[in-house]
């Protein structure tokens, strides 16, 4: 399968953009890659927006790493790798959610010791499963660093179902979750079930991390989960706008990365990460330049005011 794909892929990038696009979508595996990529990007964007606000990126990363032993273990046991990633990430989310937090951390502070431990254990058992299975190293790269080749129709269906479920739950809890994120004490006093929401959010994050890892590989989920949201929130402080912008950025990054990966020999995870990081760096530099200009403007105003 991979060999056939590889043979058809290398027609190379021409100068005719329309032609290139046509070529991109002629192949069923590429259509599937775009379908899967788009679903994953939307889910990653929506969940990432909250993850960044809640400062739970580290938890998101750990949950993604856990999808690796999930997939490897499932393959070793002869089960579906996709199912394995979901089971593993959601279980890990429950572990992180249910371990009592240190008192000093308050409501939503990450307990980095627990999360770090989960992550280390995940990588260790993943390596164990790979070695138990034996001769499975081909897809090891894909599991860790991402692949867009050979995404089946079934996989796309699974991604759609899980993705829609995640987005539906998120839409249902969106406003109180935002309240609990910004202002946990007042939210709790207003009757928002802060603790329950934080458990639900982590489970959703587990699902999202497992989804994203299907495209970016479990080690590079961070790129699609965190970078678009972090960039968008720097660009605008209006919650609605930055939420939409996050999803747009995530989808755009995924599409460009898929196209780039198709026309080159390098893995998709590399492109997602570097394009996402590129966007983030540009936004950050532009923003700090803007702040500096504003500050100069403001201090000018003050000295005028004093002189008057």
């Amino acid at each position: 399968m991979i060999a056939v794909v590889a043979a058809t892929v290398r027609e190379g990038l021409g100068w005719n953009l329309v032609d290139d696009m046509r070529q991109l979508f002629e192949l069923h595996f590429m259509v599937n890659a775009f379908r899967a990529g788009t679903i994953v990007a939307v889910v990653a964007g929506a969940m990432g927006w909250f993850t960044v606000l809640r400062r739970q990126s580290f938890a998101g990363h750990a949950l993604a790493v856990v999808s690796f032993p999930g997939a490897a273990g499932a393959v070793w046991l002869g089960a579906s790798a996709t199912a394995g990633t979901f089971v593993a990430s959601v279980s890990a989310a429950l572990v992180i959610a249910l371990v009592p937090r240190s008192a000093s951390g308050g409501g939503d502070g990450e307990d980095s010791a627990v999360i770090g431990t989960v992550q280390a254990l995940a990588l260790a058992s993943g390596v164990l499963f790979v070695s138990l299975y034996g001769g499975f190293l081909n897809s090891l790269n894909g599991l860790l660093f991402g692949t867009f080749l050979g995404i089946t129709d079934d996989q796309v269906t699974t991604l759609i179902i899980v993705g829609a479920a995640v987005l539906a739950v998120l839409a249902g809890i969106g406003r109180p979750l935002f309240f609990a994120t910004i202002d946990a004490d007042v939210a709790q006093a207003s009757g928002v079930p802060v603790r329950m929401l934080s458990v639900v959010f982590l489970v959703l994050l587990g699902c999202a991390a497992a989804e994203v890892s299907q495209i970016t590989g479990s080690l590079l989920v961070f790129a699609l989960l965190v970078l678009p949201a972090a960039s968008a929130q720097r660009l605008t402080s209006r919650p609605g706008s930055s939420f939409v912008l996050t999803i747009v950025l995530a989808v755009a990054i995924t599409w460009v990365a898929l196209a780039a990966a198709y026309f080159s020999v390098h893995p998709i995870g590399f492109f997602v990460t570097t394009i996402g990081l590129g966007v983030f760096v540009v936004v950050t530099v532009a923003q700090s330049a803007k702040v500096r200009i504003q500050r100069r403007g403001r201090s000018g105003f003050t000295s005028q005011g004093l002189a008057a």
């Binding site: 910004i182 004490d185 007042v186 207003s190 009757g191 928002v192 929130q233």
Partner: protein, 320 residues
């Protein structure tokens, strides 16, 4: 003794609060204290504790507390650090259960009052990097507890949404936050954040505001301004305010009543009735002096938890 008094008159209240002294300085009214007129029988208290006690594990925070806040009153809750002022607020909110006695908030069990209660928790400052506008934080006070997700352009077709927006603009105007409500809340100053949070607590037109040290971490001009603001809101909107403070000085002139909390109970009354040597010494069961400086200001000296440490600490301090 004289050196200590002078040192305190210098206005070094921070130092005092660190060692847990109930410290107050005020321009005291020279007229003798008169008992508060009893409230009319049909006026029900906004907040009422009777024989109330709170225990965490084996430790009793306070017991035998009988206090009340009447409609429209501006009441300060005072006492040394760790005495359980925040705990009292949390009991009123239904976040901490009483181990004995009863608490009634707006005629119901704590936690049932919901929309009629505004709350501002202690020492809240937003992370500098938080990229959410002040107005969004204020809006959470209006609908943050509603399930679902805000829909785009809701204001175009929903009258309710427009009314909510009008109220949000109104409270932002009321606290004078119009200039910076559109800026990310992490980037505005502590005093500005505090004003936005007061606006948030006010959005739903509460009948009772519970403010936990809203003047904490503000500089002196801001303390005075925010205190005046709270007093004005209490009067104009007819809101009862129960405000925790560790320094009664900036709010003294606005207060209807003070509640001093001790481990074995609480005393309440006018400033003159409560902040005197006899009452506070009895409450804390340790000698506490309330002194009047030559310019008429009032100084409370004493440490209900460790009186001997306190005098050692201050006797050697250089005069400014």
């Amino acid at each position: 003794m004289r050196a200590r008094l002078l040192a305190m008159n210098a206005g070094d209240f921070e130092q005092q609060s660190v060692v847990g002294i109930p410290s107050t300085v005020s321009r005291q009214n020279p007229t003798p204290p008169s008992p508060p007129s009893p409230p009319p029988a049909d006026v029900r208290p906004m907040l009422e504790f009777s024989q109330a006690a709170v225990r965490f594990g084996y430790r009793t925070v306070w017991s035998d507390v009988n206090v009340s806040v009447m409609p429209g009153e501006f009441v300060a809750i005072l006492g040394p650090n760790g005495v359980g002022k925040s705990t009292l607020i949390k009991v009123a909110l239904g976040l901490v259960p009483l181990s004995a006695g009863t608490a009634t908030v707006l005629g119901a069990e704590p936690g049932q009052a919901g929309r009629d209660l505004g709350y501002l928790p202690q020492r809240r400052s937003f992370d500098q990097g938080l990229r959410v506008r002040g107005i969004d934080v204020v809006r959470l006070g209006a609908d943050g507890d509603r399930w679902g997700t805000p829909l785009p352009f809701a204001r175009r077709w929903s009258a309710q949404s427009r009314a909510q927006q009008e109220r949000i603009d109104e409270v932002i105007e009321m606290v004078g936050a119009g200039q910076y409500a559109e800026r990310p809340i992490g980037e505005v100053s502590g005093g500005e954040q505090q004003r936005l949070l007061i606006a948030q607590a006010l959005v739903r037109r509460p009948k009772l505001l519970l403010l936990d040290e809203p003047l904490d971490s503000l500089d002196l001009p801001n303390q005075a301004a925010v205190a005046a603001l709270i007093s004005r809101i209490s009067r104009d909107e007819g809101v009862a305010v129960a405000m925790v403070a560790h320094d009664v000085n900036p709010i003294m002139s606005y207060l209807d009543r003070v509640i001093y909390i001790g481990q074995g109970g609480a005393v309440s009354g006018t400033v003159e009735q409560v902040i005197n040597s006899e009452t506070l010494s009895r409450l804390y069961d340790t000698p506490i002096e309330v002194l009047r400086a030559s310019d008429g200001r009032l100084v409370v000296v004493g440490d209900p938890e460790a009186p001997s440490h306190h005098s050692d600490r201050h006797s050697g301090r250089p005069l400014p």
